[in-house]
Amino acid sequence: MSLIYRLASRNLFQDRLRFVATIIGIVFSIVLVTIQLGLYLSFERMVTTMIDHAPADLWIVPLGTKCFEDPSLLDEHDRDHALSVQGVAEAIPVVIGFTQWTVPSGGTTPVFIIGSDASKTGLHPWNFVAGNLETLSTPHAVAVDRTYFGRLGITKIGDTTEIRDQKAQVTAITAGIRSFTTTPYVFTALEPAQVYMGSGPNKVSYFLINVSPKANIDHVRAQLLEHLSKVEVLTPDEFRDRSRSFWLFGTGAGAALFAGALLGIIVGTVIVAQTLYSSTKDHLIEFATLRAIGSSSVYIHKIIICQALLSATIGFSLAAAISLIIVKSTAETALPIVMTPELTAGLFLLTVFMCVASALSAIVQVIRIDPAKVFNQ
């Protein structure tokens, strides 16, 4: 084995306090970046979770809809127009919107209603941990996610409350259906949803369109736009993109997360650069000796980069372990942090890049060493 690794590791570990400071810098930076990007991924998934779970080839949405949670209304008669288009097999009405849930203390908390006919295909809850979809066909039935028990003031199936002064009873409980807005989702059937929203019996928010097996989706879409006015017809991908764009960039939430991640990278880079620079400065006479005895610049750069890579590997390992604990501890909360294999690999590459970039200041310092310096020491 070349002495490069030995020199690098011993230079690195010789001053333990400085080594610990380097590792803390890297860990702090990477954990911060992990949290920011993990939240971003989590938000990205949550923003489109309803679109992902809706059985639709196309969405008919009110003109100008910005995202899934944008509560505009369509006329239910549009369903008949949609069904008259050749190739449309189903046009499923869905009602959504914000309303007020009465908590046991007597106050109210905002909730987001999603109503769809429970006996047919539609936008229904999933991941049931108690009750089932059939129970939503009973009068006043609602399904909520257990994540929001505390917020809604309920503890079990059978608990009752009022939504916009109308009776509601929890008949099903789900796990992991969380809202980007942190406002709890409440699933119910179509008609109770219209009542809870006060939108009137002939108003809906969206139609989920399923086309016949042999129909051409683009053709159906064009026909729908011809037959309907003041609507847009979107593919699920288009609706996802629009929702992501609105929530993550239109509101500045995504930019804030990226800014936090960028700050983490900058802090980490500066800390690692400072410690590598200081380590190189301490070993300057050794690097001058290497140059004096004829070492190539590449050999010396390899030592410094090896130090940076060692720091990156050790720092990343610790940061990944801490991040995993954070990810696990937030898994059941309203704001889970997501860690994917791709994100982990990306963060490792980022750590390596950050540490190698940090080594540049040290390399510049070494480049300037006069080998004749060894005669004066």
């Binding site: 002495l3 490069i4 190539s296 060894v374």
Partner: protein, 228 residues
């Protein structure tokens, strides 16, 4: 065979810039041949270290010619000069300049590692050379575990392990007592006697005069006396 390993012809070296510029070497010429040990002596500020740096291809002369094994260094870049040092010149310093985090054998092996020699043969060769300087029993010792004389012997081993033709030593006995100084000079004289190398020693130490084949005295950037 008395081939010149390093030749310096009419070397001028200016140091500093502007009003602070001084001419450290003023047209000095010198030739180091195989099988000889030259002592370069002179008062502080006479230009000995500057001349050593020029001969060792660490500084380029302002004018004049330096040849290493007949190859002129004129126009050579830092990378070319580093290669010349790596391949043909071994250095020994007053403060040894060993790597404190490496063992004796690794300090010696370093001179081969920078040449790209594979680890195993480099290790074998380094042990052999450490043995020739009488340190076969201390190959795994770290510099702080060695005496000054032992550290300087490790430095000698590092200088010769790659087969350098010229050994340039800067005050090699400066930090040693007379017994260790004598031992080091004996070793350097042995090295010079194998007729494949020339040794040039910069020194203030009059005790080592008997080891010299030639003595060059410098004063004010010039050679003022050469004695055989």
């Amino acid at each position: 065979m008395t081939c010149p390993v390093i030749e310096a012809i009419d070397i001028v070296k200016d140091l500093g810039k502007g009003a602070g510029q001084v001419q450290a070497l003023k047209g000095i010429s010198l030739s180091l041949t195989c099988g000889e040990l030259i002592l370069l002596m002179g008062p502080s500020g006479s230009g000995k270290t500057t001349l050593l740096s020029v001969l060792g291809c660490m500084l380029t002369p302002t004018s004049g010619t330096v040849r290493v094994l007949g190859q002129s260094t004129a126009g050579a870049g830092p990378g070319d000069l580093a290669k010349l040092r790596r391949d043909h010149i071994g250095f020994i310093f007053q403060s040894y300049h060993l790597f404190p985090t490496l063992s004796a054998v690794d300090n010696v092996r370093l001179a081969l590692d920078i040449r790209g020699t594979a680890a195993e043969p480099a290790l074998v060769r380094s042990k052999e050379v450490l043995s020739t300087v009488g340190l076969s029993h201390k190959i795994n010792a770290f510099p702080h575990e060695l005496s000054g004389g032992e550290q300087q012997r490790v430095a000698i081993a590092r200088a010769i392990v790659g087969g350098a033709s010229a050994i340039l030593a800067d005050e090699p006995t400066g930090a040693l007592d007379s017994e260790n100084g004598h031992a080091i000079m004996t070793k350097l004289a042995e090295i010079a006697k194998d007729h494949s190398r020339g040794v040039l020693v910069v020194t203030h130490d009059p005790r080592i005069l008997p080891f010299a084949n030639r003595i060059i005295r410098m004063e004010d950037g010039r050679s003022c006396l050469q004695a055989a």
